[in-house]
């Protein structure tokens, strides 16, 4: 009551507040429903790892009772899991570094040099968006085999860098274009070469875009399936996605253990994303704005 009397003298804010007040409970409700749908399958996987197979057979949809740590313990003490995590980490880190370094160099040229063929070069990389790895996978496999890189992590890393370049260039070029010309002029008057400008000014200024691109490359690599499926046939060199698939067919009767293995293998990408999520939205904002 008192609030409404207080508000009356300012009708504009009153109207605004009213609309927000009206929509808030509904907003929260819809958000909660959406989150529940998004998260519950993930929770099923994580919680299922704490159950036993007999619990799962008796009632497939129930909470762990009692909680059983054996599955997670078993996975965490197995060599396979750590070896595959290590392989995935090596591949993802080198891919990320490669994509960021090569992508920055090309994007810098595309954004800040004017030369004949620049448009063609940009189109070449942009067209790469239409060449998904699926289309080229068979010849790619044959090529990698001819290079002698089958069953080696390099055979996964090099194509991954190549296929991540289009997205990287498309996100980074607008970022680098947005750096005001005055800064570059100032740097060149100050005796800095273009390369010096690139190293000392561009990289720090483009950091939000670089972080976005790096995260996308890391997560893409961490999750990639079809390329390792073709290139890596030796179980000792499997990455985690292949490991999950192999584990789930090998222990198809041991559902609880599969669930434990699966939930542990999604942890790194989730943690990585949670730490950097704000940066992703920021980076995409720049890219979407153009």
């Amino acid at each position: 009551m008192s609030t409404s009397t207080l508000r009356t003298p300012t009708p504009i804010t009153d109207g605004r507040r009213k609309s927000i007040n009206w929509s808030h409970p509904l907003t929260y409700f819809i958000a909660l429903v959406f989150i529940a749908v998004s998260i519950s399958p993930v929770l099923y996987i994580v919680l299922g790892g704490f159950r036993t197979n007999s619990q799962i057979t008796v009632d497939p949809a129930a909470l762990p009772a009692p909680w059983n740590l054996g599955n997670y313990f078993g996975v965490l003490t197995s060599d396979t899991f750590w070896q595959e995590t290590g392989n995935s980490a090596i591949v993802a880190l080198i891919t990320t570094v490669g994509v960021v370094v090569l992508g920055l160099m090309v994007s810098f040229v595309l954004a800040r040099y004017s030369f004949r063929g620049r448009g063609a070069m940009y189109s070449l990389f942009a067209a790469g968006l239409m060449f998904p790895i699926t289309v080229a996978i068979t010849p790619l496999y044959i090529m990698v085999k001819d290079l002698g890189l089958v069953n080696s992590l390099a055979g996964v890393i090099l194509p991954q860098i190549a296929f991540a370049l289009p997205t990287t260039v498309i996100i980074l070029v607008p970022f680098l274009k947005a750096i005001p010309d005055e800064i570059e002029e100032a740097a060149s008057i100050d005796g800095s070469s273009r390369i010096g400008f690139f190293l000392r000014m561009v990289i720090p200024l483009a950091l939000p875009g670089v972080v976005t691109v790096g995260i996308l490359a890391f997560i893409g690599s961490w999750n990639s399936y079809i390329l390792p499926l073709f290139i890596l046939s030796d179980q000792g060199i499997y990455t985690l996605p292949l490991g999950v698939k192999a584990f789930s067919s090998q222990y198809s009767q041991d559902t609880a253990k599969v669930l434990a293995f699966t939930s542990l293998s999604m942890l790194p990408a989730l943690v990585f994303f949670t730490i950097f999520q704000r940066r992703i939205v920021g980076g995409l904002t720049g890219a979407v704005k153009g």
Partner: protein, 341 residues
């Protein structure tokens, strides 16, 4: 520190443009021949820099993206089982086979269904969610992380998890039983009438977070002054969204739709992991990509598999070009103008 100071002083001297006083003066007066050679040296230097900076990326891109795609087109003209070099040239025969292959017609129709339903399901829902989450509500950051979780998890994990949930004695049927809805229990993955809808649900579940984040990013680029002005003029919340926000979000929506279309045409991982090559065709969820891998890698018909890849690529490219010609051109044109500023 000293560097930035230097920049500042030099720029101050230069600022009364054209009246070049101290720094730039000597250079401008220098004889024209010197200027030319300096310019030429600079041009060579620039060429060298361009070559060094773009060389590695272009080489790796041509070698591992463009070359294999070209190779796929080449292999598509052969009957070839993957041993030794392809010698059995069959011209366009593989393509005639594809156009008369009932199995290919099936997978093509599955891809078409997936493409249309992805746009219809995810688009409107994602726009509504992005509008809601764009309001100043508590816990917005947490909500964003949570809705993005399915997108961050790998296809293998999504596939493994959902196939355990949806299998006949899995968690969903168990849950229905517990809720007294046992009559609705069904074979979510193997019934050909239902499997494609299960797949659509899983696809929407996995990828809608990406659409929402993209739209949120687009919404943040829309200046708030417009909606503030409209609300002062007495427009309601939904009026503002319909007449101001949505049209301005148009470019983002069109980019998302483009990515979604390409993704639908290339869908592989989820289907291959949940159904595998053989079950997918009986369950009615097989796609061009799973058919290609099934023919090529699993059955050894590499020539035919590559021809399928080429058809897939041509379909994607055609749709992409038409889409760009008629829908994206306006957006990119605007971008170019904006950048020129």
């Amino acid at each position: 520190m000293s560097e930035s100071l230097g920049v500042k002083t030099l720029r101050q001297q230069r600022s009364p443009e054209g009246l070049s006083v101290v720094g730039g003066g000597t250079r401008k007066v220098s004889p024209p021949t010197g200027v030319r050679s300096v310019r030429r040296a600079r041009r060579w230097r620039q060429r060298f820099e361009i070559a060094v900076l773009t060389g590695p990326a272009i080489i790796i891109f041509l070698a591992f993206v463009i070359f294999p795609v070209a190779l796929a087109a080449y292999y598509g003209f052969y009957r070839w089982h993957g041993y030794g070099p392809p010698i059995d040239f069959v011209g366009l025969n593989n393509y005639f086979l594809i156009f008369n292959d009932p199995a290919f017609h099936d997978v093509l129709s599955h891809n078409a269904i997936i493409l249309v339903l992805s746009l219809v399901f995810q688009g409107p829902l994602a726009i509504i969610l992005a509008l809601l989450l764009n309001q100043k509500i508590r816990g917005r950051a947490v909500i964003r992380v949570l809705i993005f979780v399915p997108y961050v998890i790998s296809e293998v994990i999504v596939g493994t998890g959902w196939s355990l949930i949806l299998q006949t004695n899995g968690a969903l049927n168990g849950l229905l039983q517990d809720l007294g809805l046992g009559a609705f229990k069904t074979n979510w993955l193997s019934d050909p009438h239902i499997a494609i809808w299960s797949l659509m649900f899983i696809i929407s579940w996995k990828y809608i977070g990406f659409a929402v984040i993209l739209f949120l990013a687009g919404l943040q680029g829309i200046p708030t002054e417009l909606s503030e002005a409209a609300s002062i003029d007495g427009a309601s919340y939904w009026q503002i969204q319909r007449t101001i926000t949505l049209p301005l979000l148009g470019p983002t929506v069109r980019i998302w739709a483009f990515l979604s279309i390409i993704g639908s045409l290339q869908l592989f991982d989820l289907v291959y992991i949940i159904w595998g090559q053989y079950v997918a065709s009986t369950a009615g969820t097989s796609t061009m990509a799973t058919y290609m891998v099934g023919q090529g890698r699993d059955a050894g018909n590499f020539g035919y598999g590559n021809a399928i890849a080429v058809v897939m690529f041509v379909i994607s490219l055609t749709i992409a070009l038409i889409y760009q010609r008629f829908l994206l051109r306006r957006d990119t044109a605007g971008v170019v103008v904006e950048r020129r500023k």
